[in-house]
Amino acid sequence: MTGEAILVLLVCLPFAGSLAATILLRTDSRVLAARIAGAVTLASLVMTAMLYPAVRGGAKVRLDLEWLPQLGLNVTLRMDGFAWLFAMLVTGIGCLVVLYARYYMSEEDPVPRFFSFLLAFMGSMLGIVLSGNVILLSVFWELTSIFSFLLISYWHNNAAARDGARMALTITGIGGFCLLAGFLVLGHIVGSYDLDVILSSGDTIKAHPLYLTTLVLILVGALTKSAQVPFHFWLPNAMAAPTPVSAYLHSATMVKAGVFLLVRLWPALSGTYEWFMLVGIAGTCTLLLGAYFAMFQQDLKGLLAYSTISHLGLITTLLSLGSPLAAVAAIFHMMNHATFKASLFMAAGIIDHETGTRDMRRLSGLFKYLPITGTLAMVASAAMAGVPLLNGFISKEMFFAEAVETHADSVLDRMLPYVATLAGAFSVAYSIRFIHVVFFGPPPTDLPKPKPHEPPHWMRFPIEFLVFACLVVGIVPSLSIGPFLHSAVLSVLGPRTPEYSLAIWHGVNTPLVMSVIALIGGAALYAFLKDYLARCDDGPPLFRHLVGQRIFERVLVTVSWKWARWLESRLGTRNLQPQLRLVTAAGLLAGVIPLYIAGFSPKPPVLGEVDPIFAVVWCIGAFCALGAAYQAKYHRLAALVLLGGAGITTCITFVWLSAPDLAITQLVVEIVTTVLLLLGLRWLPKRSVKVDDSVALAARGRRFRDFLLAISCGFGMFLFSYAIMKQPVPDAIASYFLEKAYTEGGGRNVVNVILVDFRGFDTFGEIAVLAIVALTVFALLRRFRPAADSIEKPEQQRIQNAYDAAAPERSAGDTVRDYLLVPSVIMQWMFPVVVTFAIYLFLRGHDLPGGGFAGGVTMAIAFLLQYLAGGVRWAEDRLRILPLRWMGFGLVVAAATGMGAWAFGYPFLTTHSQYVELPFIGKVPAASALLFDLGVFSLVVGATVLILIALAHQSIRVHRVRGLEAPKAEEA
């Protein structure tokens, strides 16, 4: 397997595994999902390990796939030494966490979902690590936020989990948004989104006036993700997640993404005063406050969460210094922290699992019950505290050494050694507390599960492995992690790679003295605070009431509730009329303002050129339009007739002005629209003319305003269209279509050729829309409930039925049949004629006016006439139409015709045309466009018939509803 293939697999495999685990959701396959997850993580780990030879010594593997090259957006995956180390961390700890979770998750939990999210998270995390394009990185960054949300809220019945997840998503989501903005600015500065290009143009970036902007935006992204002050508070709240999630996301991977990014961009952004101040202040505050808060936590996981915050602060502080040695220490500490913290989280999970509580006020003396776990936790805590011979010690020594050095002469820099030692002491204190409270002291008395015992061996194995790693790295650093760390350092720092030594013993120097002070001071601090801590409330004194979470929630409520409500009440309305009024007025202004600015003055109209017949037609048209506007409130039927008149006028205009295709389509659509609205009239409320003189003044004012608006819009459209029509038509793309229609499209009707050939993809989209609308109408009508006053039969039907019932020789419905006897016979006889006409329209469409749209609607009219002639029941007894099949057939034919072009190596919807010699008929044009048009035809038939029939059926359905409700009425 080549390196490039492995890169793609590394990103895709976890998502594939996630999908596979999702498919198992319903099955009872707790172990199977864990096995899938285990196999995927293990495979990823092995594949990553296989890549090591390719990244050793500063080399890198790179894969470019074009995505949107015009925008500089490519799927670029790259792996260098640093990315390799991080990928090992993600996949390696991923493996251990899956193994741990296999035993941790209980029978009742939906386990496949857990593993599905976990794998998807791992995929996103690997995506961040391997992205070689910053926009791609930002996409994966968002994905980690989303999957972390889903994982934290895994136990979604728990309110704390929901709130914690929402807070994490809000904070990291805002950060991700800023990060994307920062990357866009960065891309603007550099002129590329490619990570390699960005890394090599550090000087350009730092000299650019937008440097500070991009720096701040990217830092917000990185610091929110890594839970740095002042964005730290989401992490302790995220502890409501299952412990494997905390071990994986909140110690080893996701929170590391922020510092990972800082390291990644370190060559491009660091070394300036702004960088030092911004990153440095955030880092030192986090380092100190995190450690201080951690001492006072009563929840085991809370303590670990604050400790994580503090250690991340340490890494951030190191990165702020801008010295290569500090960067080495930062990378090293990232690895060390992940190993000891993940194991501590898992140990905390075991304690929680076995005793049923994580409250340190209730836990005590567990060493007797959990000797092995206890020993492991002790070693890991010692690593956290920075005890010699463990990995935490080495990187902490490096930190102390860097803290002593002078980097940028300022108060912050001079304070750093003291801050570092103090934070070190705090860290020793909380590490001792963790061990002492839980494992020593009197036997526990107040445990929810009174008989704790060691967990299954394989559940403890991940901890054993990680603790072993802590020891190995701590004792023989240069033999274990040395070469890998060196590759990582080389890939980040390149030629600036400093001389460093991973030795344990450097002689008695300042860092060692600081370490000793921190160890002794921390132990003393714990001894001093022990009694207070054993009974105090959760959270540190002074800060206990200043909870970031509460501030966050207050801000959230203020912004998303109070301000939003206020704005809505000021600016919004739930009434349609004001909204439409605003839209119309805005449209009017949008038309008027440019014309006004451009100094538009209308040409005076010339009366002599008016064709009298055309003028008469439009007099009728104008009358119809105005009449429809006037009558639509009280005389709906009249308005509908007048609307039809306006439609016919439009149709005549199309004929007159050389648009036969439009005229045909308009005519047939007019018919179906009229029938449609007629069917709808039945369900509208009665409204008789009321002479209401007491109309309020406000209402009159509103009407007057609308009237003015309507007049202005109408007048504006008149001026506008007159001016446009008087302009000579510019030679745009029309001549192209006219010239190529026959030679390339094989048709003489240019409009049809455009529809089915040149712009076939548009048409395909349009028929898809038509299908969607028809299905929506159908779906809406399935649950249709008419208003109470429309359920009764209409008055006319009642009179007719009464008349039929009164005469003994008549049966119900005879009257209406008698009325329509002649028309219905004609309509039934016309059926074959109309169908033939429709087919004729369709077939000739490529050369003469007609085509799929017009033919389709005509065909629908043929069916419709049968419904009109005999009623719904009569028609359906004789004619079985399956509109859904027509629609499906149409879509499939259209799509298949389009895809047929692929078989010949052409793009989608390329058409082919030629003439075919048919016996008796002669030469017939046969274009593949005709097949496409057949799809259009079939879909239009289906959609139109579906809409109309669904509406027509309501009159039958309502009888059923009425039938069901009648007994209830009698009971009442």
Partner: protein
Amino acid sequence: MELVLSIGIGIMTGSGVWLILRPRTYQVIVGLSLLSYAVNLFIFAVGGVKSDAAPLLEEGVAVSTMTDPVPHALVLTAIVIGFATTALFLVVLLAARGLTGTDHVDGREQPK
């Protein structure tokens, strides 16, 4: 010709705008239909208004004398889609009336 057509477009627009600002759903649906006539005619007219110049290719007729077929193609699909959206709107307004018992566009009568 142009004068008559543009006056016609203006009147249809005015009537349509007036109707969509009315409170009854049926008025709005009629108004939208009128507006769509006006808009279709307007788009169509942008391609030039000529009689006896249909874009149907024939031997011996120069293509330069024909009208622009592009607006025709645009308007043709617009007419069909217009029918579909009218149907959708009609069904929505019927369903809304069934649910709320009123045919006011806001789903409730204006408070007096």
